[in-house]
Symmetry: C3
Subunit: 257 residues, 3 copies
Amino acid sequence: MPDPVVTLTTDFGDDGPYVAAMKGVILSVNPAARIIDLTHEIPPHDIRHAAFFLANALPYFPPGCIHVVVVDPGVGSSRALLYIESSRQRIIAPDNGCWTLLPEPSLVRRIENPRYGRPHISATFHGRDILAPVAGWLSRGLDPANLGTVTNDWVRLRLPEPSRTDGHVSGEVVFVDRFGNLITNIPGDWLPELGVGATCVMVGSEAVTHRVRTYADAELGTAAALVSSFGTLEIGVVQGNAAERLKAGLGTPVKIC
Amino acid sequence: MPDPVVTLTTDFGDDGPYVAAMKGVILSVNPAARIIDLTHEIPPHDIRHAAFFLANALPYFPPGCIHVVVVDPGVGSSRALLYIESSRQRIIAPDNGCWTLLPEPSLVRRIENPRYGRPHISATFHGRDILAPVAGWLSRGLDPANLGTVTNDWVRLRLPEPSRTDGHVSGEVVFVDRFGNLITNIPGDWLPELGVGATCVMVGSEAVTHRVRTYADAELGTAAALVSSFGTLEIGVVQGNAAERLKAGLGTPVKIC
Amino acid sequence: MPDPVVTLTTDFGDDGPYVAAMKGVILSVNPAARIIDLTHEIPPHDIRHAAFFLANALPYFPPGCIHVVVVDPGVGSSRALLYIESSRQRIIAPDNGCWTLLPEPSLVRRIENPRYGRPHISATFHGRDILAPVAGWLSRGLDPANLGTVTNDWVRLRLPEPSRTDGHVSGEVVFVDRFGNLITNIPGDWLPELGVGATCVMVGSEAVTHRVRTYADAELGTAAALVSSFGTLEIGVVQGNAAERLKAGLGTPVKIC
């Protein structure tokens, strides 16, 4: 059986020693753990970005992987730390809603047992002092029942929902990728069944009139609407930057006319 | 035998879920794969940067590693996806020339067999839906003959060549590293056999008159020419930034007088 | 026994092929090595940042890990390369003081034996040509006695020390993290035993009057002093950026009144 996988998703960036210290702690508990970086570039304290990230990354992993998430503006407060089973993945994360765009969990426990944390718990870095060692123990086969009590009470992230009334579809930009592509929360199957051709999508006050299946279907520099790899409406500019061209970003309203 | 190595080279950056999703897909096909990040900071859609990167990284790996390359401005078009054997490495990449600065390949196949991709192939993310699972299968021992037909027809990157006529050597900057060092395409053994001392290299319209073996041979702040770790002419500023000082960048012409 | 861990700490950034080449070289010597990135974002040539990083990351690793450090402004000069045992870790690094904030070493050797480097040693990239292959050999069980002679002579990083005279405590900022938190070199146990409440810390010319145990103890946007996860005085702004707010950075003097 391959060594157990422990992934890391944080907002720590890479220049400081925070992530490295967590890796050391995990390996100190389980020298056989296979540590995989998912990202350390979640914008600082951005729960919503973390939630989008996790919902679109974790379901691709094989069952049983352990995912440590440290985006934790409430560190040191009374916010709980949670053990979650969802999509056949095992997640440990602060109770701030960052994992709640994943499918409804089959099990959530509070992490309460001090036995699996480090002997001294700092007030500001529970990632290193609690979550990392707990991940190490879980990867060694610890039964999660040892961590703490089952709970049905956790923070749920509330996000604006896309709407569809009288044939009017509206939503917003929920992610801007490195290429400047605008990913919306409008399901791809809400798009009119027009196939490739003319369309009318308003991104803020800018109209996008091309509909394509993929970027290669339009000319260089054309702004076009398509179904993203996330399965939602995306607006991109062929080999250009849609966010810059359309002066759009996170939260920009998007409508299909 | 150690678990198989699968490396990743992309232009996705680290903040979005693209790279993480690929890692999940690879592990879902082969839970024993050892995933190693080479870079996710290729500038967006920059085939030339990717080609320089791969040519100067892959040959250092032991035989048989699998290298997944996703710099893919033509995703969704009719561009092929390729399986390549070169330098005893195994590369899977879009057919856009990004791997063609490596030594002439011993084998190239088109990746055509849908059996080794994911069941649903998105129009914009073949890295996740085709290349990642194919890498997983290859790392499990899949015979590449199953992927598709052998081809002798692929895109070759055409780059300006350095020239040497009547004792005049000219070339250009092909890579600027994080320190601001200017790496050129002029072979190190074209440099006059002067050893350390005076020289005359024109970088754009700026003259560099020091020739050193290594940065420690000149005083702090001196601009100097040397043979780079890539084996080519490099211009650096001792503990300074040559790109800024000489107002030079990718493509800046370089001449030896 | 799990495969041996080799970590990498460099100032190379991620866009160039330097780090990838080192990974290839390590795996070429020991295909079973488990390579773990600690950071490649040490600011270029910043020995002091590297020293802070290593002192706060390496002690968390299990005994016997091999840590390759390449922050090497003196590459190619007569500066030595060292093999160090400290905190039960094994470190290979240039002799520039970057590791000397770790506890006093139990053993230091010069790396002198050309047998364990690559056949051709470039003048500017000893990370790839010497340190990476040496790490590979050590991870295969090479006795460090083969590397070179024991030495008691190495560069020690001299840093300003915090002081405490007549009840006046002063020090400075030694690290600014991604959140803008200001980490100082003033030991946490030098703080007056006031617990949570009023305090007076001068950061440059700005007064910070709140003392908290953790960020959750003060209101959003409040500047507050606390004991950092490094065990030292830290000044942060609750869900804000202290470096920006207090116009402070590396080296800013900090006093407790």
